[in-house]
C-alpha cells in the first residue's frame, strides 16, 4: 500500500470537496496539494490506465485535437480520462484525475487511455514522469514570451526531452513546422510519424511574423517551395539540407468543407466539422493519433464528421437572440488565422475583444501588434472592448488601417458589453477572448442561464 499516495489523494480530494462546498473556482488547487505531497502521483495514477497515456502539446490546436481524438475514442467504445475541462499544467491534470480515482489511486471504472493536453513547458516534466505511449506536437509559435522567454528555448528543451523518452514512445510531428520537424533528427525512423499539408493551397502569406525564418539546426535561411501560414510550409534549408520529410498522413486537397486525406496509398474525402485552414492541421493530428492506435480510418472519419467544437473554440451559441461566435485568442498566429477565417462570412461585422493580462493569458500584451487585421479591413463596423487591457486592444485597432472608421465602444464589464450588443441589429457577433477572459465569459453566460454544451 502506498501511504504517501493515499495521503496525497486524500488531501487533494478534501480540497476539492471544500472548493465545491464553497462554490469557488480554482480547478488546479487540489492537484497542487496532491502533487506537493507525492510528486509521483501523476505517474502512479496513470499507470492504472490499460492502454497508456497520450500527450498533446504545441502552441496552437491542443484542445481541438484532444477533443477530436476523444470523440473518436468514444466512438470506438474506449474509455479515457482527459483534462479538457481543467488546466494544462501538471496540477490541473491531477485535479481532473482526482475525481475519477479512489483513495489508492485506482480508477473507479476501467480506463483505457489518459489523453492530456499539456502546456509547452509543463510537457517536459509530465512526459519525463509518465513515459507516454504516444506524444504529438502540433506547432511552435510565439506565445507568452513573458513566461517562456523565447520560442527557441522551448524547441531546445523538447529536443532533449524526446531523446530522453524510451524507444517505445511514438512521436507524431507536424512536418510543416521546421521547428517541430527538427525534433526528429537522429531519431529512429520507426518512432516518428509525420503529418502535413501535401499540396499547394495558394494561400497568401504576407505576414512578416515567423518564428523560424532561419533553419533551426544551422541558422541558414530556409527556402519555401510552398507557404501555408507564418513559418508553416514546404521548406528546405539552403545549407544543411533540413527539409520537410515525406508525409505519412497528408491533406492533398481542400474544397470548402471537403478535405481529401491521403494515407498508406489511399485517399478519402472527408467532411470537416471545423472552419479555418488551421483546423485542417487539427484534423490531421487527430487522424494521426487514431491511426497510430490502430483505429480504422473509416471509423475515425465517421466520428470526426459528427464532431462538436469545444467551448470558445469556434463554437457558435445562441444567446438572447444573438448568435455568438466565440474563439479563444491567445497568440498572433492563432488570432490572425481566426480573423482570416471569419472574413469569409459576408457582411459588416460586430467584433468583441476581451483582452486580459493574467499569467494564463500572458502578462505582456505586446503580441497584439503582431496580429494581422487586414482581412477584415472593410468589414468591421462596431468593435467592443473589455477585459483588463481594453485600451491596448483599442489602440491596436485604431492603428490597424480599418476602413470607414468603425465605432469603438469601451466597456467596464461584461454586463455593459451585452447591453451594448442588445442595441446592435446584426445577429452574428464575433467574440475574441484571451484565456481567462473566456473563463469569465463562460461564467457570465452560465449565470444568465446559458448552460448547454460545455463540460
Amino acid at each position: 500500500m502506498d501511504i504517501r499516495l493515499i495521503t496525497a489523494i486524500a488531501a487533494g480530494k478534501s480540497v476539492k470537496l471544500a472548493l465545491t462546498v464553497f462554490q469557488s473556482g480554482g480547478t488546479a488547487a487540489p492537484g497542487l496539494i496532491t502533487e506537493t505531497i507525492d510528486k509521483n502521483a501523476l505517474k502512479k495514477i496513470s499507470s492504472g490506465f490499460k492502454q497508456g497515456v497520450i500527450l498533446i502539446s504545441g502552441t496552437n490546436g491542443k484542445t481541438t485535437t484532444a477533443r477530436l481524438l476523444t470523440n473518436a475514442l468514444t466512438n470506438q467504445g474506449y474509455t479515457f480520462l482527459a483534462n479538457s475541462a481543467g488546466s494544462n499544467l501538471k496540477r490541473g491534470i491531477i485535479s481532473v484525475l482526482l475525481e475519477q480515482v479512489n483513495l489508492t489511486g485506482r480508477p473507479r471504472r476501467k480506463i483505457d487511455f489518459g489523453i492530456f493536453e499539456c502546456d509547452e513547458m509543463a510537457l517536459i516534466e509530465i512526459a519525463k514522469e509518465i513515459k507516454p505511449r504516444l506524444i504529438l506536437l502540433t506547432n511552435l509559435f510565439r506565445d507568452q514570451l513573458d513566461r517562456y522567454g523565447e520560442v527557441e528555448t522551448i524547441r531546445k528543451k523538447w529536443f532533449e526531452l524526446i531523446r530522453s523518452l524510451p524507444n517505445e514512445t511514438k512521436v507524431i510531428l507536424n512536418a510543416d513546422d521546421p521547428g517541430i520537424r527538427s525534433l526528429a533528427d537522429y531519431l529512429n525512423e520507426k518512432r516518428v510519424f509525420f503529418y502535413g499539408i501535401g499540396f499547394n493551397p495558394n494561400r497568401q502569406n504576407d505576414s512578416i511574423i515567423s518564428d523560424f525564418s532561419r533553419c533551426p539546426n544551422c541558422g541558414a535561411s530556409l527556402y519555401y517551395q510552398t507557404e501555408f501560414f507564418s513559418h508553416l510550409g514546404d521548406y528546405v534549408c539552403s545549407k544543411c539540407g533540413l527539409a520537410r520529410p515525406k508525409l505519412d498522413l497528408s491533406a492533398v486537397a481542400i474544397e470548402n468543407e471537403k478535405i481529401e486525406i491521403a494515407y498508406c496509398g489511399r485517399t478519402e474525402k472527408i467532411t470537416t466539422p471545423l472552419k479555418g485552414f488551421y483546423n485542417v492541421y487539427n484534423l490531421l493530428a487527430a487522424f494521426s493519433i487514431g491511426l497510430n492506435l490502430k483505429i480504422d480510418f473509416d471509423q475515425i472519419q465517421k466520428s470526426l464528421e459528427k464532431f462538436k467544437p469545444a467551448f470558445g473554440r469556434q463554437e457558435i451559441i445562441k444567446f438572447n437572440s444573438k448568435e455568438l461566435f466565440i474563439s479563444l485568442a491567445k497568440n498572433p498566429v492563432g488570432l490572425t488565422e481566426t480573423i482570416k477565417t471569419i472574413s469569409a462570412d459576408p457582411g459588416k461585422k460586430t467584433l468583441i475583444f476581451l483582452l486580459n493580462d493574467k499569467i494564463a493569458d500572458g502578462v505582456d500584451v505586446s503580441w497584439i501588434w503582431d496580429v494581422d487585421f487586414n482581412s477584415i479591413k472593410n468589414q468591421a463596423e462596431t468593435i467592443i472592448f473589455n477585459g483588463r487591457r481594453p485600451y491596448d486592444m483599442g489602440l491596436r485597432l485604431k492603428y490597424a488601417d480599418l476602413e470607414n472608421r468603425p465605432r469603438f465602444i469601451f466597456c467596464r464589464n461584461l454586463n455593459e458589453v451585452f447591453k451594448n450588443l442588445a442595441e446592435i441589429k446584426i445577429e452574428r457577433v464575433y467574440i475574441f477572448p484571451t484565456y481567462t477572459a473566456l473563463m469569465d465569459l463562460k461564467k457570465f453566460l452560465a449565470r444568465r442561464g446559458y448552460k448547454k454544451f460545455w463540460t
Binding site: S210, R214, D364, S366, W369, Y391
Partner: protein, 254 residues
Amino acid sequence: MDQELILTHLYPKTMNTYGDQGNVLVFKKRAEWRGFKIKILTADLDEPIKKSDFYFFGGGQDQEQSLVSKDLIGLKTELLKAEAENFKPMLLICGGYQLLGEYYQTADNKKIVGAGILAIRTIAGPKRMIGDIVLNLNPVLGISEQINDKKITTVVGFENHSGKTYLDKNIKPLGQIVKGYGNNGEDKTEGACYKNIIGSYGHGSLLAKNPHLADYLIKKAFEVKTGEKIELENLDDSLEWQAHLSRLNYSNLK
C-alpha cells in the same frame, strides 16, 4: 504637406519577436495623419540599407543576434554610423538597442560584436528581467505633454531581456526607472539617447502608448531632412493617453 519621409525597418524578418513592428505602424500612421507621405523600406540579412529619414530596429531571439551581428559589421555599420552622426533619428528596441552598442557578451562568454554606434555594453545576466516598466524621461530630451492638469514625462512599456546593459559616462539614459529593471536592474537607468537615437528595452509596442515619443521622432525626422523647424499638428490622442495612464495607475503611480 507633401513631404515624403523614408523609414527603414532594419531586419524585420530576423528581429521581430515581441510585437515591436507596431512602432513602424504608429510612426507611419501618426505621420500620415499630419499629411506626410511615408515610404517604408526594409533591410534584412544580405540586403543593403538605403539612406533614410528614420530607422527602426526591434528585438529578436538571442540565436538571431549573432547572425545579425555578422551581417551588420562592415558597410552597413559605416552607413548607420554616418547617419547617426548626421542626427538621423532611430528607434532601437531590446536586441536592436544591444546590437548598435559595442558588444553583447553571452552567458558562455562569447562576444557578439555590435555596431559600436552607442557607447554601451551588454552582458548576459543570470535571470530574465520581465515585467512592466515605467520611466521618467531624461529632461535633456525636452519631451513632456500636458494631459488635463497633469504634466506627463513618463514612458510606459514592457521589458523582457536577460542582457544587462551598461552606459558609458558620455551617453545619457533615456530615463530614470520608476518601475521595473531597466538597463541592468542596478543603476535605475533605462535605455539610452545619443544625438537623435533612442534605445530602450520597452516593448508594447513602445510608441503606441507613448505618443509624445512617437511625435518627437517624427519631428526630428522632418527637421533633419529639411533643416526647418516644425510644430506638429495636434491629434486626438485620448485613447493613447488613456492607455498610458492606465499603466501608471496599475503601477500606483498616478
